[in-house]
Amino acid sequence: MAGYLSKLEALLKTRQFVVCAELEPPQSANAEAIYRKMKYYRGVVDAINVTDSASAVVRMSSLAVSTMLVREGLEPVLQMTCRDRNRIALQGDILGAAGLGVRNVLCLTGDHQTLGDHPSAKGVFDLDACNFLRMVRRMRDDKRFFSGGEIKTEPRLFIGAGANPFAEPFEWRVRHLAKKIDAGAEFVQTQCIFDLERFDKYMEQIRAEGIHERVFIIAGISPAKSARPLEYMKEHVSGLMIPDALIARMKQAHDPQAEGIAVALEIIAHVRQTPGIRGVHLMPLKWASVIPTIVKEAGLLPRPVVDVTAHPVANA
């Protein structure tokens, strides 16, 4: 697709059903670990989300890991949060990311520092996700810094936001997403879906307001190895809805891993039937090796090939 820099953007705009997956950077300086993991993603997913110290636990920088992926010919979605950086650092990193060949950015507010491994840290939260989105969109489309100063070469990034259908206030979640779209979001990746009833209600409201026609919505799927990570998430990770029936089903399963894959495939089948959903985003819980199995079993292989405009620096 000539004209597009981002493969994800090209696929979505040519009405393909996309597959993304999350890659969690290591809690060490060991880059080998990342290169080893790449085989689970290559040729299997269209884009790889690189988390930015998710749950406020220190990990290798998302920009560094995204750059490694670019150099290996993979397509990263750089996740950036407002927790650790003010507007100056965020803009600097946005420029750096675009310069290094990153083509997609996911703008998030970020998990609060007290929930991670450094609870005594100072949280920044200079901007919130809405204003962060607006800032990046303005940098790209208007070639302006936050301050209004001119940018000679703009960062050409495909801009995404997060959405959580499973947190209160439910009635307002759709309006809140609309606010993010007005601010500049072009694609949206949702929180992990376990509760299909609540998800269907959310999507009904999305369609009623015509929001699915203004943004590409990618559904979040979390395959679990056993009941334990689900129980842990229910207890410790906020803003999730995990039905007790699902945990019970995983507990009773003869082969919990096979059951985890079956559950993920059921949810994928469901969201593919849901009008307004344009792709899936896999967030395996410490189980990256399951990605190829799930994508294959879901009948989403082979992935479509797209030609995008090459990046001069990344190819140098």
Partner: protein, 131 residues
């Protein structure tokens, strides 16, 4: 120090402290200097641990804050309050980013001196950010 400067400083001190005392007691104000209580049904969003002025994060579980689990999410309260008063459009409009230079200043005076708008947004940020 000249008399007029002294008067100005004393005057500012009186205004600042009057606002502070009233708002700290009523709204647990943190003197952000760009008060948006009018748009949020008089629930102060600066009490949110992430100081979110544009709606809730993805964290609230069962309507409770993810950081202070014994407290209601501020944005759940704002949403309910604005729905009750029929003011939801106020919650839907994006607020311009915070102007941290106004921190610890008197919002009432900032309105008078045209540093902020009546809706409580920094005029400078609005201009820079073209909001």
């Amino acid at each position: 120090m000249s008399m007029s400067l002294l008067l100005r400083d004393v005057g500012y001190g009186i205004c600042y402290n009057a606002e502070r005392i009233a708002k700290v007691v009523l709204f647990r104000c943190s003197m952000c200097g760009q008060c948006i209580l009018r748009s949020t049904g008089f629930v102060c969003p600066m009490r949110c641990p992430k100081q979110m002025r544009n709606g809730p994060c993805g964290g609230p579980t069962g309507g409770m804050c993810e950081v202070y689990r014994d407290r209601k999410c501020i944005w759940v309260r704002i949403y309910k309050r604005n729905r009750f008063f029929g003011q939801l459009p106020k919650t839907e409009r994006r607020m311009t980013p915070l102007d941290w230079e106004l921190w610890e200043s008197a919002a009432w005076l900032n309105v008078v001196t045209k540093k902020i708008t009546l809706s409580g947004e920094s005029r400078r940020t609005k201009e820079e950010f073209q909001d």
